[in-house]
């Protein structure tokens, strides 16, 4: 089974979507994304059947860069996350009318293509190229179809682009440096390197800059809230649902194995940063007036915890992090979609103008509540599995990490329930709120189903990712 097929589907999809014109664009995009999903499922079966899913084609001779894709369990998990969320995201946008829709949906597919590539790439430079490519579409999506005052938006988006690019360019330098040492960009060759502690430190920092901005880890998160707020909800979903995970995935795949000494040496600092993010994000979220901004900060908090998990360098930490990545991917998409659903009816994202929805629309309220509960990691939701594992791994490093990280349980509940109370509860709102349409319902139900199913039975994913995580850990602990 050729792994590049998925990439090809998505890329062709992007062009096809652009060509069929505004009328059909959304449908075609949905079709292609579903095709990619199907293809990935088949791929997964092949993988589970023990087939090794990888290909290497020579691409550039001097310097030696090859078009190498490799799908181990981890990559497949992220791949599935991407291709599963993309159709949901596209489908969720059916309620909206976009001018120049063909461009819009084409960009979405193209972004999916780039992100998939990032997850699959097994060659440092190829990975970097996909990584950068993913940035372009979201830039245009946010810029052209975003909301709010265009001047503000422009500032926010440009800041986002330059800021992230700045980070990743240093990663590029690091990659070139590694290439000088290894004579190839292939990941296995890079894994073989034995760098001095000092070199590793610099490499680690270069990567960290790129990832810390993308994930984002405080204090590099300043782009996040604004962009989430200004971007169209679809863009926000793509950003928060998948693109953040790119950063976290890269930490596991590239940063830790390539600079294990540094990672071990300064482990505590980076865990502490992550946890600081948890607390900071939660606290800032308490007083947000804008629903999307609040969700942005909540995801800052969650992602901080995930990052802390990855930096523990324990199998639990990594496993929990990956589980939590997937869980958070779904829940955050769901929440942002819910925010969009509200916006479609109330024309506002300002929490103070909401409230009294529950009376008018019980179905939607229940769904929203489930999403909220999932995001506060109520047991029996997927997020709990991830969060529990991560916190456990933290407690193994130092019980205080677990305690501080665990404050997310309290603060998270605080701001989410506060939000829920003011958005949904309370007496009847002047504005009428029609209950969810079928389409909206489908998207939400799918997400909720995933969250709850894996909440009780995460085994499939765990079994999928564990072996590859162990191999990565072996690389980390090789010397």
């Amino acid at each position: 089974m050729n792994v590049s097929l998925i990439l090809i589907i998505l890329l062709i999809g992007a062009f096809a979507t652009y060509l069929v014109g505004d009328k059909l664009a959304s449908k075609v995009a949905l079709f292609f994304s579903l095709a990619a999903l199907g293809c990935s499922v088949v791929l997964t079966n092949h993988f589970l059947a023990g087939e090794s899913i990888s290909l290497i084609n020579a691409w550039i001779t001097q310097p030696k860069i090859s078009f190498a894709l490799n799908a181990d369990g981890l990559a497949i998990a992220m791949l599935l996350l991407t291709v599963a969320l993309t159709p949901i995201i596209i489908f969720s946008s059916f309620g909206n009318e976009y001018k120049n829709a063909k461009g819009f949906y084409a960009l979405i597919l193209f972004m999916a293509f780039a992100m998939t590539g990032t997850f699959l790439a097994a060659d440092g430079l190829l990975y970097y190229i996909f990584w950068e490519l993913a940035l372009i579409p979201i830039y245009f999506i946010a810029l052209i179809w975003g909301n709010g005052d265009s001047e503000e938006r422009r500032k926010a988006v440009v800041k986002f682009f330059i800021y992230t690019l700045a980070g990743s360019l240093f990663m590029l330098v690091a990659f070139i440096y590694l290439y000088q040492k290894a004579g190839s960009f292939l990941i296995e060759d890079l894994y073989k390197l034995n760098l001095s502690a000092c070199e590793q430190l610099w490499i680690f920092l270069a990567f960290f800059l790129a990832y810390a901005i993308k994930i984002p880890i405080i204090p590099f998160h300043t782009w996040q809230a604004n962009v989430y707020q200004k971007a169209p909800t679809v863009g926000t979903m793509l950003l928060s649902g998948i693109m953040l995970k790119m950063g976290l995935y890269s930490v596991i795949r590239w940063q830790l194995p390539l600079a294990p000494l540094a990672a071990k040496e300064y482990m505590n600092i980076f865990i502490a940063l992550g946890i600081a993010g948890v607390i900071y994000g939660s606290i800032v979220a308490l007083r947000q007036k804008d629903l999307k901004k609040l969700l942005a900060y909540s995801s800052l908090a969650h992602v901080g915890l995930i990052a802390a998990g990855t930096y523990t360098l324990t199998i639990d930490g990594l496993r929990g992090a990956v589980l939590q990545m997937i869980a958070h991917g779904f829940v955050v998409v769901g929440l942002f979609f819910a925010a969009e659903v509200i916006f479609r009816r109330f024309e506002t994202r300002n929490i103070s103008e909401m409230g009294g929805i529950r009376i008018q629309s019980p179905k939607f309220t229940s769904m929203f509540l489930i999403l909220v509960l999932a995001s506060v990691a109520l047991p029996s939701t997927f997020n709990f599995v991830g969060e529990f594992t991560v916190l456990y791994s933290l407690s193994q490093i130092n019980v205080w990490f677990a305690v501080l990280g665990g404050t997310t349980i309290i603060l998270g509940a605080y701001y989410m329930l506060k939000m829920f109370q003011h958005v949904m509860l309370g007496d009847k709102n002047a504005k009428t709120f029609a209950d969810v349409t079928i389409n909206e319902g489908i998207s939400l139900v799918v997400i909720i189903a995933v969250l709850i199913f894996f909440g009780f039975y995460p085994k499939p994913i765990t079994d999928l990712i564990t072996p590859s995580l162990e191999t990565i850990l072996n690389v980390i602990n090789k010397n």
Binding site: I60, L125, I129, E132, L143, I144, A166, V173, Q180
Partner: protein, 463 residues
């Protein structure tokens, strides 16, 4: 050699066309002619001969670069059709001058003797002076011409002096002989000084800090097409020649013998850092697109100079970088030409809403800007990548980091233009889809992306 002769012949033909009143046919004819020349040039590929007791030395380097120049000239000639619509009587002259300019360029990369080198430079420069000032009644154009002329000839004076010193030191103008002498144990100080003077002259041509001041003014003042020519063809020719000059004369080894290498490298490093930094920072606040591109050109000159630090291996990289840069430039300028056809200036405001009125052109301009900014899949990215790789290998990590920071800054102004195209409302309706401009834009952009997808195509020509 034949290439050179053919080009010159072609130029003369163009003039004849005017006499024979065949203006209509001139553009297609010239393009065909140039394609022929290109073929001819390919036929000389790989052959390393020298003609007229080594006045001209054809080498892989010269042929490859000449073909790049020819390609660029084809684009420029194609663009000139639409550009000179309004004064048909002059078109043949301008085209002819461009051809001669090309001849000068080819002479410069394939010189085997300083006489040829000097003539080449002068042919190039004089044609440029003329083109720069070609809008007789436009004071800006005159001023641009004058500034360029004064500084240019001043630079020629410096170069000449340098040549003279080299001659004094070596007693010959012949590259081969000089390169042999230059390896000998001790040389008179005149040789490095002379070389430095010549290099400085060339640095002026590539517009490197602190010899860059002319560029923005001249670019802004000259007719848009000339600007396009300067920022693509002229710059590429100059940097290529500089590279050839230093490599062909065994300048680096000779410096090593005299252990002045560090000195020279420091100079290059400082100049290239200065160029990219000044270029990028100055570009940030420009409102005139031509001027902005001039500054971006200065910064790119800074990048290109990095190749001089690993002279023995970086020919391919230089070729790749120049082609990437030039192709992007051509694409960008073809859009600029279209947008600013009947405007009296080239301010960014003219580009407002281009994304809505002409999505294709907007996309192409975006592409070329992204390429210049070094965003993946456009060849600009790979150019930077190879360059950085090369330079880190040569051990100039700091320089690369500065370069990286600069490319971050550069995004700032490239995106200013993109933003103008996509996030502003159109302020004028743009009519007509001039076939040649679209053609050039599309082809150059395609080439750019193809180079990005298969860098080896170009990269391996000189490795």
């Amino acid at each position: 050699m034949n290439t050179l002769i053919a080009i010159t012949g072609l130029g003369i033909f163009c003039l004849l066309f005017e006499i024979l009143n065949l203006r209509k046919g001139i553009i297609p004819f010239t393009i065909l002619g140039l394609l022929g020349v290109l073929a001819l040039n390919f036929s000389e590929f790989g052959s390393t001969e020298s003609y007229y007791n080594n006045m001209i030395a054809v080498s892989k380097f010269s042929t490859t670069f000449s073909s790049l120049f020819i390609v660029l000239t084809i684009f420029l000639v194609a663009l000139s059709h639409n550009f000179y619509e309004n004064h048909p009587t002059k078109i043949s002259d301008f085209v002819a001058i461009k051809i001669f300019l090309l001849a000068g360029g080819v002479a410069m990369v394939s010189f085997g003797n300083f006489a040829m080198f000097f003539l080449g430079i002068e042919i190039l420069s004089i044609s440029l002076y003329v083109l720069a000032a070609s809008e007789r009644l436009n004071l800006k154009s005159n001023e641009a011409g004058m500034k360029y002329f004064l500084m240019g000839s001043f630079a020629s004076g410096i170069i000449l002096f340098g040549i003279c010193l080299i001659y004094g030191a070596m007693g010959s103008f012949d590259i081969v002989e000089i390169s042999e002498y230059s390896l000998s144990a001790e040389l008179p100080i005149w040789f490095p000084i002379g070389m430095i003077l010549v290099v400085i002259g060339m640095l002026f041509k590539v517009a490197a800090v602190p010899f860059h001041f002319w560029a923005p003014d001249v670019y802004e003042g000259s007719p848009a097409l000339t600007t396009a020519l300067m920022s693509t063809l002229a710059k590429v020719v100059a940097i290529a020649t500089l590279y050839k000059l230093i490599s062909a004369l065994n300048f680096i080894p000779s410096l090593e013998n005299q252990d002045h290498l560090a000195t020279f490298e420091n100079i290059i490093v400082i100049i290239s850092i200065a160029s990219m930094t000044v270029g990028n920072i100055m570009a940030l606040r420009q409102v005139n697109v031509k001027r902005m591109l001039a500054f971006s050109g200065i910064s790119h000159a800074g990048f290109m100079l990095m190749t001089l630090l690993s002279i023995s291996t970086s020919a391919g990289v230089l070729l790749y970088y120049t082609s990437a840069y030039a192709l992007a430039g051509i694409a960008a300028f073809s859009v600029v030409l279209y947008v600013c056809k009947n405007q009296d200036n080239e301010d960014i405001t003219n580009f407002h809403g281009l994304g809505k009125t002409n999505p294709l052109l907007a996309a192409i301009l975006t592409g070329s800007l992204l390429s210049m900014a070094g965003i993946p899949i456009f060849s600009g990215f790979f150019a930077k990548l190879f360059l950085f790789n090369q330079t880190i290998e040569a051990g100039f990590l700091i320089l690369v980091i500065v370069a990286v920071i600069n490319s971050i800054i550069s995004v700032g102004y490239y995106f200013k233009l993109i933003l103008a195209m996509y996030s502003k409302e159109p302020n004028q309706e743009r009519t007509g889809k001039p076939f040649l401009i679209y053609g050039v834009a599309i082809i150059s952009m395609t080439l750019n992306i193809v180079l990005g997808l298969f860098p080896s195509l170009v990269l391996d020509l000189l490795n």
